[in-house]
C-alpha cells in the first residue's frame, strides 16, 4: 500500500497542500495485518478484508476461518446476529456470495435458505455474482458529483474499456457507481476493493489502473 506512485494520499482538498506520508495517513504500520482468526476473543465482530485473489471453490470456515467463526458466535447473544459477519467472511474467501454459499450459511446458523437470501440481497456490499479482482466503486453522489465525479467514472470506463457494471475479459476490473462513501470533502472518492482513493481526477485514472494491474501481476 505504501508504494502508491501518485500525489494524493487523500483528504488534502483541491490543492493538495499536505505533508504527511502515505503510511501516516493509512496507518499501515499501526493497523498491520490483522489476524485472519479474528483477534481477541471478545473484541471484533469481524475482521474484514477484500482480497484481490479469491477462489469461488474455497472451503468455507476451515482452519483460521473456523476459529474466527467460533469467536464471532461468542460475541452475540443470538446465533442469527452472526449472519452479516459470516456472509462477509464468505465474500472474503470466495469473492461473491453464491446461492450455494447462502444455503451453507443457512445450515450453519439454523436459518432457512430463503431468509438468508432475503438478507443477502438487501445489502449492497454482498456481491451476488462474481466481480473482477478490483471492484472499482466511483461515488457519484452530490458532493463528488458537484466536483466532477461523472468525468471520473467515464475515465474509469474508458481506460478499462468496459461497460458500467460489467467485468473486463481478463477478470481484473469491475466498475460500478457507488452511493456516498463518506469522503465528501475529498472528491472524487473511489473505493477500490477495501481502499479509498480520494481527490481522484480523470487525469489520475490511468496511473491508478496501471498501479492496480501491477498489483495483479505481482501476485502471480
Amino acid at each position: 500500500m505504501s508504494d502508491v506512485p501518485f500525489r494524493n494520499p487523500g483528504w488534502a482538498g483541491n490543492t493538495g497542500e499536505f505533508d504527511l506520508t502515505e503510511e501516516q495517513v493509512r496507518g499501515d504500520d499501526f493497523i498491520g495485518q490483522r489476524p485472519l482468526h479474528g483477534g481477541h476473543s471478545s473484541v471484533s465482530g469481524t475482521m474484514p478484508y477484500m482480497l484481490v485473489e479469491r477462489n469461488p471453490q474455497a472451503g468455507l470456515f476451515e482452519g483460521e476461518y473456523q476459529e474466527r467463526l467460533e469467536k464471532i458466535l461468542t460475541r452475540y447473544p443470538k446465533k442469527r446476529a452472526a449472519l452479516l459477519p459470516v456472509l462477509g467472511m464468505v465474500q472474503e474467501l470466495r469473492g461473491y456470495v453464491s446461492p450455494e454459499s447462502m444455503d451453507r450459511v443457512a445450515e450453519l446458523l439454523d436459518l432457512s435458505p430463503a431468509y438468508v437470501r432475503g438478507v443477502t440481497t438487501f445489502y449492497t456490499m454482498y456481491n451476488k455474482r462474481p466481480v473482477g479482482r478490483h471492484l472499482v466503486q466511483v461515488c457519484t453522489n452530490i458532493s463528488c458529483n458537484l466536483c466532477g465525479a461523472d468525468e471520473v467514472l467515464a475515465a474509469f470506463l474508458r481506460y478499462t474499456d468496459i461497460e458500467l457494471g460489467a467485468t473486463s475479459e481478463d477478470g481484473d476490473f469491475t466498475v460500478i457507481e457507488a452511493e456516498c462513501l463518506a469522503a465528501c470533502g475529498f472528491p472524487t472518492c473511489v473505493q477500490i476493493n477495501s481502499r479509498y482513493f480520494e481527490n481522484v481526477t480523470p487525469a489520475d485514472v490511468p496511473k491508478i489502473i496501471e498501479h492496480l494491474r501491477a498489483q495483479v501481476a505481482g501476485s502471480d
Binding site: G27, I31, P48, L146, C184, Q191
Partner: protein, 430 residues
C-alpha cells in the same frame, strides 16, 4: 499544519489530533490525558455521569439533536436484563464525513466515550456498528479495542473497579437505512435493516429485545471531555439551546473543503467565506444544503443570515442535521443534483412503505424527464403534491428526506426547472 486545512476560528476539542497518526496508539493517547475521563466516571455513580452530560446540554450529533443526557436517563435503573450501548458509526448521509475522520484519527477517544456511556446506562456490552465500506476504519478500531483490552480499560474488572464492559466492532454491509436507529438494531440482529414503528423506544425494547441506547460517534467522542472538565465547561461554547462545539463537514464548491470544529451558532456565511476560503474560482454562491442531503436547500440570501445551530437553521426553513454543509456555486445544476439525491433515496429505500418505495422512484423518473428537457410545468405541481404525501406518513424519515430537497428546490430555484422545461439554456453545467 498538516491536517487538510485548519482555521484560527476553530475550537478543536474532539478534532484536536486530526492528522496526527500517533494519536492512534494507546500509549500516546494515555500520555496526552486519555482515559482520565473514564477513570473519573468510574469513581462516580452512573446517574451522576448522566447528570453531568445533561448539565453540558450535549445534543445528539447524528441529526436529530436530542439531548444525550436525557436519552440516557430513559434507561431502566433497576433491571436484571442486560443493557446495550450501540454506537452508530454507519455514516452514510451524503455530505457527511466526520465520523470516519473521528474514528481513523482518534479511535481511543470514541472507545473511551463508549465506555463512559455504557457505564452511565449500566450496559455490559457495546456494539460499534461501523459502516461496511470502512475497511480501514474497522481495522483501526479493532486494533484500538484490542489495545484497550490489553491495558485493562475494557473487558472484565475495568481499572480494578469491578465494572465489566465488552466492546464489539460490528461491520455493516452497505445500507443507508441502517443508520436509522431501529434499522440499525435489526441489522445488528442479523435481519434486513428495515426500521420498525416506535414506540416501543429502544430504551424499553432495543437490540435483542433488551434496553438499548444508540448514540452517534461524534456525540460519544465529546463525552470524555465533558466528564473530565464538567458540563459547565462545555457550555462556554455555542448557544443556550445548542451548547458546545460541532464538526462541520464542508464539501462542494469551496476553496478548502474539510472538517472544521466550530462553536454551534457560527454564522454560515463566515464558515464559507472565512473558514473555507470562499467559493472556488471566485464564483458566486447559489445554494447551500446545511445539514446533509436530507434537509431543505437554502439560497444565497438565506445563507447570509443563517446561523449554524439547531434553532438558527430552522429559522431559515432548513435543519442543521449532521452539519454537512454542501455548497453550490452559480454553475451548479440544481435539477441534476436534486435528481441525483432522489436517485440515492430510491436506491436506499428499504421498501416497506408504499409512499417511500414507489414515491422515491417515481419522483426520480419525473426529475429525470425534466432534466432531459421532456418535462412540463404540471410536473412541478405533481412533484410538490406527491412529495407532500411522503412527509410524515411512513415508518421512518427516509421518505421525508426525499421531499426536503425536491420541495425546497422547486420553491427557491423554480427558474432552473422552468428553464429546462421551456427548453431554454441550462442554468448550470456541473
Amino acid at each position: 499544519m498538516a491536517y487538510p486545512y485548519v482555521s484560527d476560528l476553530e475550537v478543536r476539542v474532539i478534532s484536536k489530533y486530526f492528522g496526527d497518526p500517533g494519536q492512534r496508539r494507546i500509549d500516546t493517547y494515555v500520555e496526552r490525558g486519555g482515559y482520565k475521563g473514564l477513570q473519573k466516571a468510574l469513581g462516580l455513580e452512573p446517574d451522576a455521569v448522566t447528570e453531568e452530560v445533561k448539565a453540558s446540554g450535549l445534543r445528539g450529533r447524528g441529526g436529530a439533536g436530542f439531548p444525550t443526557g436525557v436519552k440516557w436517563s430513559f434507561m431502566p435503573k433497576e433491571s436484571i436484563r442486560p443493557h446495550y450501548l450501540l454506537c452508530n458509526a454507519d455514516e452514510s448521509e451524503p455530505g457527511t464525513f466526520k465520523d470516519r475522520e473521528l474514528m481513523r484519527w482518534d479511535p481511543h477517544q470514541l472507545i473511551e466515550g463508549c465506555l463512559i456511556g455504557a457505564y452511565a446506562i449500566r450496559a455490559q456490552h457495546i456494539y460499534i456498528y461501523c459502516r461496511g465500506e470502512f475497511f480501514e476504519v474497522n481495522q483501526i478500531l479493532a486494533r484500538a479495542v484490542e489495545d484497550a483490552y490489553a491495558k485493562g480499560y475494557a473487558g472484565e474488572d475495568i481499572l480494578g473497579t469491578g465494572t465489566t464492559i465488552d466492546i464489539t466492532v460490528h461491520q455493516g454491509a452497505g445500507a443507508y437505512i441502517c443508520g436509522e436507529e431501529t434499522g440499525l438494531m435489526r441489522s445488528l440482529e442479523g435481519e434486513r435493516g428495515e426500521p420498525r414503528v416506535k414506540p416501543p423506544f429502544p430504551a424499553a425494547v432495543g437490540v435483542f429485545g433488551m434496553p438499548s441506547t444508540i448514540n452517534n460517534v461524534e456525540t460519544l467522542a465529546a463525552v470524555p471531555h465533558i466528564i473530565l472538565n464538567g458540563g459547565e465547561w462545555y457550555r462556554q461554547w455555542g448557544t443556550e439551546k445548542s451548547p458546545g462545539t460541532k464538526l462541520f463537514c464542508v464539501s462542494g464548491h469551496v476553496q478548502k473543503p474539510g472538517n472544521y470544529e466550530l462553536p454551534l451558532g457560527f454564522p454560515l456565511i463566515d464558515l464559507i467565506e472565512h473558514v473555507c476560503g470562499g467559493i472556488r474560482d471566485g464564483n458566486e454562491l447559489k445554494a447551500v444544503i446545511p445539514g446533509g442531503s436530507s434537509v431543505p436547500l437554502i439560497n444565497a440570501e438565506d445563507s447570509s443570515i443563517c446561523t449554524l445551530d439547531y434553532e438558527g437553521c430552522v429559522e431559515v426553513g432548513t435543519m442543521l442535521g449532521c452539519a454537512s454543509v454542501i455548497v453550490m456555486d452559480h454553475k451548479a445544476d440544481i435539477v441534476k443534483q436534486v435528481r441525483r439525491m432522489v436517485d440515492f433515496y430510491a436506491h436506499e429505500s428499504c421498501g416497506q412503505c408504499t409512499q417511500c418505495r414507489e414515491g422515491s422512484a417515481w419522483t426520480a423518473r419525473i426529475l429525470r424527464r425534466i432534466e432531459e428537457g421532456q418535462g412540463t410545468e404540471e410536473d412541478l405541481d405533481t412533484l410538490m403534491e406527491m412529495t407532500q404525501q411522503m412527509v410524515g406518513t411512513t415508518i421512518c424519515v427516509l421518505s421525508d428526506s426525499v421531499a426536503a430537497p425536491v420541495q425546497s428546490s422547486i420553491k427557491k430555484f423554480k427558474d432552473d426547472y422552468l428553464a429546462l422545461i421551456r427548453g431554454g439554456e441550462r442554468v448550470g453545467a456541473a
